[in-house]
């Protein structure tokens, strides 16, 4: 039993085989050129979902890494400011010990007061440390220096005034992992305190100004006041010396807080980077071609096409006509 094979049948058949070969060849060529297994999600739905979910996850991870990097820079700036202020406090402490020395007289104390004043100004400047355009110790008021002279609303005030966000409502938060936020800043007032005097009863009498404030700046200011006084009271200086140790402790605690925050950020960042590598791996497994395989497939397909062409040419040519 034979099938009637017409010339068009042979043509059609040969062409079909050639088209099939060429389609496969073109697809392989596209894969190699683009490096991806598929062009449209419908070609491999499951892999496409993997790719899209990976993209979504990678987007988040990159976002968190970027946030962490920004936060680390700001925290490191704060850390450096605290380190410098520690040096200043140590210097102030030594001066105070000298002042308590029995041999120190009024004149010497007055000179020391000058030095303490310099330290106070330095600490005020550190309180106004900026990262980029941001004042980092002013809480959410990042646009204006937190430490200034008392504002005009405080009549006839003098001293160092903290104008930033109040402690407790100062936290600026960033997201470092899904649903995890951290506070990147410390409240300047908590670390450095403030100290100023103002005309509380508005009687324009400069002799009964009321002193406001506590913390490092207040302690140093009070020590300075005794030192520059004509009748320095060493007992008060001694008392304040004890407070100064407390303030130093506060500084150290703050620094430890920042240090552990940095450590936490480092760990989180490392986790994110590990995640990024593994998610990229998964995505690549779903999407990217195996070049070795693709190229050998291409070679194989090329050979198949050559064979089809040769066989096709052989089979189309002869007819009875050639022998008549």
């Amino acid at each position: 039993m034979y099938q009637r094979i017409t010339n068009n049948y042979i043509n059609e058949n040969v062409l079909n085989n050639l088209f099939t070969n060429r389609t496969t060849l073109i697809d392989l060529q596209r894969q190699i050129a683009s490096g991806t297994k598929f062009e449209r999600p419908s070609e491999d739905v499951l892999s496409a979902i993997t790719v899209l979910s990976s993209n979504s996850t990678l987007g988040k991870i990159e976002n968190y890494i970027k946030n962490i990097e920004t936060a680390k820079l700001e925290i490191e700036t704060a850390d450096r400011a605290l380190l410098t202020s520690l040096d200043s406090v140590h210097e102030a402490r030594e001066l105070t010990i000298q002042a308590l020395n029995a041999t120190s007289g009024t004149e010497e104390l007055n000179m020391m007061a000058e030095q303490i004043e310099q330290i106070i100004q330095q600490i005020k400047d550190l309180g106004n440390t900026k990262y980029g355009t941001t004042y980092i110790f002013g809480g959410k008021e990042t646009n204006s220096a937190p430490y200034t002279d008392p504002p005009t609303t405080v009549d006839d005030g003098e001293g160092i005034y903290y104008g930033g966000s109040a402690s407790g409502s100062h936290e600026r938060e960033i997201e470092i992992a899904e649903g995890v936020t951290i506070t990147v800043n410390l409240c300047g007032e908590d670390i450095f305190g403030q100290y100023y005097k103002w005309d509380h009863d508005a009687d324009d009498d400069p002799t009964d100004l009321q002193a406001v404030g506590d913390g490092l700046i207040a302690t140093l200011s009070k020590i300075k006041e005794q030192m520059e006084s004509s009748t320095p009271d060493k007992d008060i200086i001694r008392q304040e010396m004890a407070t100064l140790d407390n303030d130093l402790q506060t500084l150290l605690t703050s620094q430890a807080t920042l240090g552990s925050l940095l450590a936490r950020l480092d760990i989180t960042e490392r986790l994110h980077k590990d995640d990024k590598i593994s998610v990229t791996d998964i995505k690549s497994g779903a999407q990217d071609i195996d070049y070795a395989k693709a190229i050998s497939d291409l070679k194989f397909q090329e050979a198949a096409l050559q064979a089809s062409l040769q066989v096709g040419a052989q089979i189309i040519k002869p007819s009875l006509l050639n022998y008549l």
Partner: protein
């Protein structure tokens, strides 16, 4: 028996062989003509029974050969099977082409889709939260939001165009004229009309006893083409005509076209309605959609319609609408519950938050919406329908990025560094949204792509299967109706030889007569 009988016989034989060679000639000439079916001479013995005028002679009953008819190589069963599959193939081909187009338009796999723009918007909000009063970062948020909404607009418009090309836009009935459904239905009417005309000619020719092979080939080609459009039932009648029907509705009967397709503008779900009318315009079938479950016409109507659980252009457009609308609402709700920055006093370059400050030169207002459908009015529509096409950034915010509510409502006047609300906006990427069926925006987008992908995958699989089947059938049919050169050559030689032999017989009889005439001389 007459002396000249041999001459007649030989002459008949000569012309018969000549005629067959003409048929072979015609076959070879048409070897590449589309729709041509190989013709064959039906030869039978000529007996005295065939021709009554020849005197009866029991011994000399056979009087040579005669061509009874010239028939076409055709297999009716195969034709019907082929057309059925062709109809199915065209259906899946049309669906597949449109599915590819949808996938190309909504391409999320490379980094140019909605997903990547959405990611960038969330990222820009997250950066803003860390540095809320930075103008550059605020501007960045605006840029990313504009990018995202432009992407929504353009993808939606492309899909809308694709749909209009198929079934027209029901709000502008004029667009129906250039639509695929209208073009196909007009072409279908032309073809049905031609079939009716051909039926007429074929009935006449058959009645005259001639073989209208050329007309039959033409009609078969037309029937193939009609089958691409609709799953028509084709029935051969005794008188040579074909009857075409769709479902229970007659389209062509004998020499008249009884059913006419017409397309009318519909509604948002089905912008085009296919009707079948009688010759006077009376409606035979008000909605023929269920009758064209196969064929290109059905595929066009399905893609352009809104059948649930099938891949339709509208389903993708609806998904985009929902995503855009829910995203806009989520961001807008956060935007109006936060605080934005105003210049106070105007022209000073000093920006403050508005919290409870009644000395402000600028009146305190609820923050403006972020995403809107009308940039000037700053409003958002009540429903999602068509929102993806219009979504844009409120002019109030685009002109003054300080109006992005990055700060929480509780922040103090000078606490412009508060980015708590911007943080909430960026965290919206992780929050499940009821309007998105409890998915996050990212998940919803992935669901959408995978839904389109798996439906398109089903279509292309079916398309490949149908392509294989109809390719096989096409080959099978080609092996019946096609011309084989070897066969024609063999036949040519066969009939050439028999022509030569007849000529020899002729000359032998001639010699005989000569001999007799010489005897007389």
């Amino acid at each position: 028996m007459s002396t000249l009988f041999g001459i007649y016989n030989a002459q008949r034989s000569l012309s018969l062989n000549q005629a067959v060679m003409d048929i072979i000639n015609n076959n070879i000439a048409n070897i590449n003509t589309p729709g041509y079916s190989k013709q064959r001479a039906e030869i039978s013995q000529l007996t005295s029974g065939n021709i009554s005028t020849i005197p009866q002679n029991a011994a000399q009953d056979s009087m040579g050969a005669v061509i009874d008819a010239i028939t076409r190589n055709r297999d009716l069963f195969l034709d019907n099977y082929y057309r059925e599959e062709k109809s199915s193939l065209s259906y899946y081909q049309e669906l597949s082409e449109n599915a590819d187009l949808i996938e190309d338009i909504t391409n999320e796999l490379d980094n140019t889709g909605i997903g990547s723009s959405l990611n960038e918007l969330y990222l820009s909000l997250s950066q803003l939260s860390a540095n809320a009063n930075d103008f550059v970062l605020r501007n960045n948020v605006i840029q990313k939001a504009v990018e995202l909404s432009t992407k929504f607009n353009s993808i939606y418009s492309q899909l809308e165009n694709q749909r209009t090309n198929l079934v027209g836009d029901y709000t502008q009935p004029d667009t129906l004229d250039g639509s695929k459904v209208k073009i196909i239905s007009d072409d279908l009417n032309d073809k049905l009309n031609s079939i009716a005309d051909l039926n007429n000619s074929i009935i006449l020719a058959t009645a005259e006893g001639t073989s209208p092979n050329f007309l039959l080939d033409n009609r078969d080609t037309l029937l193939d083409e009609i089958s691409q459009y609709i799953p028509a039932d084709i029935k051969q009648e005794i008188n040579g005509s074909v009857t075409i029907s769709l479902g229970n509705t007659l389209l062509v009967s004998g020499k008249t076209q009884t059913g006419f397709f017409s397309v009318t503008s519909g509604d948002i779900d089905n912008p085009a309605t296919l009707q079948i009318e009688n010759p006077t315009g009376g409606v035979l079938v008000a909605d023929a959609y269920s009758l064209v479950s196969s064929g290109q016409l059905g595929a066009v109507l399905e893609m352009g319609g809104s059948e649930a659980n099938e891949l339709t252009i509208k389903s993708v457009m609806d998904n985009l609408d929902t995503l855009a609308y829910e995203l806009a609402n989520t961001i807008n709700n956060l935007q109006i519950s936060g605080q934005y920055m105003v210049e106070n006093p105007a022209g000073s370059g000093i920006y403050e938050l508005t919290n409870g400050d009644d000395i402000l030169t600028v009146p305190i207002e609820t923050p403006p919406y972020f995403f809107v459908d009308d940039a000037t009015a700053g409003t958002i529509p009540a429903t999602a329908a068509g929102f993806a096409k219009l979504i844009c950034i409120n002019d109030a915010i685009a002109d003054d990025p300080y109006q992005i509510s990055a700060a929480s409502a509780t922040a103090g006047i000078e606490e412009t560094g508060d980015g708590a609300n911007a943080l909430l906006m960026s965290q919206a990427r992780n929050s499940v949204i009821a309007g998105l069926g409890g998915a996050t925006t990212d998940q919803y987008l992935i669901n959408m792509v995978s839904d389109v992908g798996s439906k398109a995958n089903r279509i292309s699989t079916n398309y490949e299967i149908k392509e294989n089947i109809s390719q096989q059938l096409k080959m099978k049919r080609e092996s019946v109706i096609g011309v084989n050169l070897d066969e024609e050559m063999a036949d040519l030689i066969r009939f050439q030889r028999s022509y030569e032999a007849s000529a020899r017989v002729f000359s032998a009889v001639n010699d005989n007569i000569k001999t007799i005439l010489a005897m007389m001389g």
